[in-house]
Amino acid sequence: MTSSEHSSAPEFNSRLERRRAFSTIFKNSCAILSWLCIGVLGFLLVHIFSSGWEWISFDFIKNAPSRMPHKAGLFSALMGTIWIIVTTAAIAIPVGVSSALYLEEYAKKNRLNSFIEINISNLAGVPSIVYGILGLTLFVRFMKLGPSVLSGALTLSLLILPVIIIASREAIKAVPNSIRLSAFALGATQFQTVFHHVLPAAMPGIMTGVILALSRAIGETAPILMVGAVAYVSRAPHGIMDGFTALPIQIYNWAREAKVEFEGLAAGGIIVLLLVLFMMNSVAILIRNKTQKAQS
């Protein structure tokens, strides 16, 4: 007899050994698949660092792009990316969080609003090139903002707004209703309840959404190419109406070059892009942890 020997009652055929084996197989396949992912990522990083690291230098950061690989740098692209991402954050975070607050705290639960909600989720799935075309038509041409930092940032804001709204709404929804009720019961207005209690409590979740969204925006190439980020810009933008280029575009341009040295430059650009991303996320995580601590 097998495991049925130990069964408590004869009506059960518990097949414990089989179930245990299945459990183990499932656990191991999950482990294998996740390590596969991490392995590919690790390979990518190793490959990029080995071919790009030698190009990283102070000159590489401070020089303008050049036809000669040894003189080429990404100063204008790096500054362009910083300008773009800061402007995008300044636009998308207030708009996104306000929309989420409106939908969660103020809006009546009617058909129009659930229609809006569904479509925000749909917008999160629209390909970025579509936003690029929209940005070109709306911001560059119709509003006559030209191929500027502002046009690029507005376009990227549209792209990441759905992500910020969805994440913020989830965070706001997760704030226990008892906090709202006790604030109201103490004679608070809705504004006071939302700004003193709901928003601080939702902040960690909102920051997580913001991190994800900005990380996506910083790597986007298609939409900013579409609104006219130009390939060769030798100086950094000095204002939001200046023309710009960005790191992903610079990397793309170098990767297309015939000379083999440019491949190294492209890898160096990727390292810089990853570093910027990493620093940006560290700041956001710092803010998140700080607000989390204040809430406990």
Partner: protein, 287 residues
């Protein structure tokens, strides 16, 4: 009446007498007092109907809560007692589809008048909830927040101290006012919530099963507190705990299926109720 019921009744009587009302010597209300109390009641509802969509939770209740007394509202789960309580400080406003009809008055204020700001209602009529729900902030901020946003002009630190003292919590927390309120025990959290309500100096205190999540020691703390508070406040407490109603309240309202079955002095409700349903409920035969 069976001997068992008889025994139950005596035990309830004993329970009532076991805890002397801490501040005042025992004084039973005479029937003349009752009429007086009801005539002078400032918190009143007439023909109160509260519905959620097509469901009527409260089906036409006339009730008055005597001033400076504790009124207990008892009844089986789902009888509408919490719903009725919440209507008196406009907390049903936050429940989707809840509709309150009839007249609810505090003094000469029509609580549901279009020109009345619900914030004003809640400033005068405070509430303590079933589950302790302190803000995830420090003990100090939990109490100071509401007075501050309402433009309190006095010394805020002093207000925090007096509120905590009145809620019998000061001695336990005076050395950690700036620690998180979430580090307190359940009973302490509930007393903090009471202190928080007291800091706003409301005129009426509504308590929705304030002890249901607490152990007996914390419960007795809060009951003592209520007996002290009724000197200055009108208190309405919804409770599932019949002994608690018997111990602390002056008047008891018994509700069933959205109707007010009986309202009388607590001693009458527990010893000599007029309605059979009340008797069945307080003697534990149903509910």
């Amino acid at each position: 009446m069976t001997p068992v019921d008889e025994a139950k009744k005596t035990s309830e009587k004993e329970l009532m007498n076991k805890r002397p009302k801490s501040t005042k010597p025992e004084s039973k209300i005479s029937s003349g007092d009752k009429e007086n109390d009801l005539r002078n009641a400032e918190l009143k509802g007439e023909g109160v109907v509260i519905s959620y969509g097509s469901d009527q939770a409260v089906k036409g209740v006339d009730i008055a809560f005597p001033s400076n007394k504790i009124t207990a509202v008892i009844g089986p789960s789902g009888c509408g007692k919490s719903t009725l309580l919440r209507a008196f400080n406009r907390m049903n406003d936050f429940i989707l589809g809840a509709k309150v009809e009839g007249s609810l008055m505090y003094k000469d204020m029509d609580l549901y008048d279009k020109n009345i700001d619900p914030v004003e209602v809640r400033l005068r009529i405070g509430m303590v909830f079933q589950k302790p729900n302190p803000f995830p902030k420090t003990i100090f901020k939990n109490i100071a927040w509401a007075p501050q946003i309402n433009g309190y002009t006095g010394d805020i630190a002093e207000l925090v101290e007096t509120s905590l003292k009145r809620a019998a919590l000061w001695n336990e927390v005076s050395d950690r006012l700036h620690d998180s309120a979430l580090g307190l025990s359940g009973g302490q959290q509930q007393r903090l919530c009471i202190a928080r309500s007291l800091a706003m100096k409301p005129e009426v205190l509504l308590m929705d099963e304030p002890c249901s999540a607490l152990d007996p020691v914390s419960t007795s703390h809060i009951e003592d507190l209520m007996l002290e508070l009724k000197e200055q406040y009108t208190i309405v407490i919804v409770t599932h705990n019949m002994q608690q109603a018997a111990r602390v309240s002056d008047y008891t309202a018994f509700m069933d299926s959205g109707n007010l079955v009986e309202f009388d002095e607590t001693s009458t409700i527990f010893t000599n109720p007029k309605e059979q349903r009340t008797e069945d409920y307080v003697s534990g035969r149903f509910g």
